[in-house]
């Protein structure tokens, strides 16, 4: 066992480091841009130099890199404070689905501008009546000549307001069991009849939107997979979602709470000297290192050209609740000042308060804790699915709260 790159990997890492050091945009370059402009500037620069979406085939804008090279690139890029965030869904989830299901012509048209950041994509899956039970979605598409006419509502759509295109799942047949009546499309987000309303979150931000469809026309040529095959296509997207949404990255971590415990008192001594504080910190530390070294095992598999085992499926289920618990604990350590949430007055400009308020979302987005536990039980441990009372029943006859 060792932590070293192979000679090839080391050479690749060196190449990445040199390029990043010379090309990461300076503060001055970004000063006059909003977060979208900043992200687009950096993405385009990576694309022009051949460092965007490096896993993708060359003809789609990538460089045919291996999985381990992608990991190395991400590790090195994360050492810099680069603008990001608006391409993750399009490049991480929509693109793999397009590359699996769209025509070669369509991919030639859409993948390069997605890689370069000139076009941004979003994903329209969840609905007011279809969250964890995604296949219960009700937004309807009716065939009309070479088009489908769409009516209904999507929700929790990240970035809908700045996206150019989107992928979505629609109900094309309400009279068959729910998974069989779905079809999958991509569409122009500027199509007439689309109305986007931001959702204000408890954290104060508005990263998500409601998207209303009123007689929106989507060409049948933009259907991915067969009519009624939408669920199967959606699974391609979802598999990639779970790979791309983590819970352990930024925010509150062992270091930030450890340092806080050094700086505040509990009783008449620094909190870090209190045994109960030390025990809790130790627990979080071993969770963090447990995830880190599990990640190293997966990287080893990638480095050997193998597919990692199922062990990485625990990341979100561990990371998201841990953020919440650590933020809550940090606020307790701050005592009465814990309630102050003000960039100027709070420790670390309000990191602990912000994480406390954002972490409930982490435990829900991209599969709730409960759904993640089901996935581990079913796909990793091989336990059976829940018994479903809607199985085999035409969707139009499935009971709902209003019926």
């Amino acid at each position: 066992m060792d932590f070293n790159d192979t000679p090839q990997e080391a050479a690749f890492r060196q190449e990445v480091q040199s390029w990043l050091a010379a090309n990461v945009p300076s503060e001055a370059e970004l000063a006059d841009l909003d977060y979208i402009g900043r992200a687009k500037l950096w993405q385009k620069r990576k694309y022009d130099a051949g460092w965007a979406c490096i896993r993708w085939p060359k003809e789609h804008g990538g460089r045919n890199a291996s999985a381990i090279e992608q990991v190395i690139f991400n590790q090195e890029e994360s050492k810099f404070d680069t603008p990001d965030g608006i391409f993750a869904i399009g490049q991480g989830m929509c693109a793999p689905t397009m590359m699996t299901w769209a025509t070669e012509e369509q991919n030639k048209r859409f993948m390069p501008p997605l890689a370069s950041g000139e076009e941004v994509w979003c994903q329209l899956f969840s609905e007011p009546a279809g969250g964890s039970d995604l296949a219960a979605l009700r937004t309807k598409a009716v065939k009309d000549g070479d088009d489908w006419i769409v009516n209904g509502q999507k929700i929790w759509t990240s970035g809908a307001h700045y996206s150019d295109y989107g992928v979505l799942v629609l109900r094309t047949d309400p009279d068959v069991p729910k998974h069989q009546g779905l079809s999958y499309f991509f569409l122009d987000m500027k199509s007439p009849g689309i109305e986007i309303k931001p959702i204000r979150q408890i954290s104060g931000g508005a990263n998500f939107n409601e998207v209303y469809f009123t007689d929106v026309r989507i060409p049948d040529a933009q259907r991915l997979g067969g009519v009624g095959q939408g669920w199967q296509v959606a699974l391609t997207t979802l598999m990639n979602e779970r790979a791309s949404i983590g819970g352990g990255g930024g925010g509150v971590n062992f270091n930030s709470v450890y340092e806080l415990a050094q700086s505040v008192n509990l009783g008449d001594r620094p909190a870090i000297e209190d045994p109960s504080v030390r025990r809790k910190l130790a627990d979080w530390y071993v969770q963090e290192t447990g995830l880190k070294f599990t990640g190293y095992r997966s990287m080893t598999a990638l480095s050997k050209g193998e597919i990692p085992g199922p062990e990485n499926s625990i990341g979100k289920l561990v990371g998201a609740p841990k953020q919440q618990d650590m933020a809550s604990f940090a606020l307790d350590l701050l005592e009465q000042a814990g309630v102050i949430w003000d960039d100027a007055l709070s420790e670390r400009a309000g990191l602990f308060q912000a994480t406390y308020m954002a972490s409930p979302g982490l435990r829900i987005a991209g599969g709730t804790d409960e759904i993640m536990a089901n996935i581990i039980a079913e796909r990793v441990l091989g336990m059976p699915q829940d018994i479903r009372v809607d199985k085999g029943i035409p969707f139009s006859e499935v009971p709902t709260a209003s019926s």
């Binding site: 070293n4 530390y285 599990t294 190293y296 089901n374 581990i376």
Partner: protein, 370 residues
């Protein structure tokens, strides 16, 4: 990045699993738990013949000269089968203490015998209730003689050689004691886990020889604990996986309200959590194995991380295994008691969770102060 066992090490694992499935089924654990034999002598002899007791002993002392990664593989498999043999006492304690602090003479005298299983070793550290401390040691070493009472001593009734920690005028010492002498009285005691034998050992002026320097005994014990913590953590992860797989198998076959209880989320989420804890512990064990194998400066932190997460994983999996089995899990007839007993034995034997959580944070403080 190469953070995985090698193909050869994985072959050793397969070989160990095949061997232990045949030679150490649950009935073998039960036979020791229920019977009078202190350990499974037949299994022990076969383990010795496989060379497992000689794993990390250098060839100069009749060992195999393999690495701690091979020993980690063996530890995990022994833990998985909850083998009722004195392996950890002989290998993680006595052999490791000699490798850590033994003189050439001591190593030549004892390591070949430990490698060949001609003698069983043990560690006599605990003296009574509460946390063991250097200042609290009541057993005394002076002029080559040892006096005092040690309890509990894992395998103290069957061992021929003890590594003992005692106080002395120069401070704490670690000494070697040949247990087959008139100055040693030992008696088996009852414990929470009768599948592993324990004793009370009384030294009455027993002949003893220093391991390392006088006054360095406490420091040596901590180093020994760090090494043993990694190996025990692998046993704990192996045992925790057994507990999880027992629970899963039962849940798949037990019906309630017209369906397998494995279809209920209350059960699925419980077992998913066990999988999460086991996976985290395994990740930390990998790091511990790496640190042990490379004698890295990070060993104290890596050992504490492996131990804390492995204690938590094994406790959770073993208690929820009983819970998943319902009333049957509470019966003597079912095997759910084995991992539940073993998890607690391994959680307290070289210092409890609280002590290792403290060591972990202390190691981080030391690292950051450096």
């Amino acid at each position: 990045m190469n953070f995985e066992f090698s193909d050869e090490q994985n072959m050793l694992r397969e070989q160990a699993q095949t061997f232990l499935n045949a030679e150490c089924p649950p009935q073998a654990v039960r036979a020791v738990l229920d019977g009078d034999a202190p350990y499974d002598e037949g299994l022990w002899q076969k383990v010795v013949e496989m060379g497992w007791t000689a794993t990390v002993i250098p060839e100069a002392y009749d060992g195999l000269g393999l690495s701690y990664l091979e020993l980690s593989v063996i530890a995990e498999e022994l833990g998985r089968s909850m083998a009722p043999i004195p392996f950890s006492s002989s290998v993680y304690f006595a052999t490791e203490a000699l490798l850590l602090a033994g003189s050439e003479t001591q190593k030549h005298e004892w390591l070949p015998k430990l490698a060949r299983g001609e003698v069983i070793g043990c560690l006599a550290d605990a003296e009574s209730g509460g946390q063991l401390t250097a200042a609290g040691l009541t057993s005394r070493y002076a002029d080559g003689r040892l006096t005092g009472r040690k309890i509990p001593v894992a395998d103290g009734d069957v061992a021929g050689l003890a590594v003992v920690v005692a106080g002395s005028d120069q401070g704490p010492v670690m000494v070697l004691v040949d247990l087959n002498q008139s100055g040693c009285q030992r008696q088996a005691i009852k414990t929470l886990d009768p599948s592993r034998s324990h004793a009370e050992v009384i030294f009455e002026g027993a002949e003893a020889t220093l391991l390392g320097e006088a006054g360095d005994g406490w420091n040596l014990l901590q180093q020994l604990y760090n090494r043993a913590a990694v190996l025990f953590a692998w046993e704990q992860v192996g045992g925790a996986e057994t507990a999880l797989s027992m629970a899963k198998d039962y849940a798949l076959n037990r019906f309630a309200f017209g369906r397998p209880i494995a279809t209920y989320q209350a059960i699925k989420h419980k077992l998913a959590q066990a999988y999460v804890k086991n996976t985290l512990a395994r990740g930390n064990c990998y790091y511990g194995a790496w640190a042990l194998d490379t004698s890295a400066d990070e060993l104290p932190l890596a050992a504490a991380s492996a131990r804390v997460s492995a204690i938590q994983a094994y406790y959770y999996a073993s208690k929820e295994n009983i819970q998943t089995h319902g009333g049957m899990g509470f019966t003597w007839e079912f095997d759910c008691q084995f991992p539940y007993r073993r998890s607690k034995l391994l959680a307290v034997n070289i210092g409890s969770e609280a002590i290792w959580q403290e060591k972990l944070i202390a190691a981080i403080e030391a690292e950051r102060a450096a």
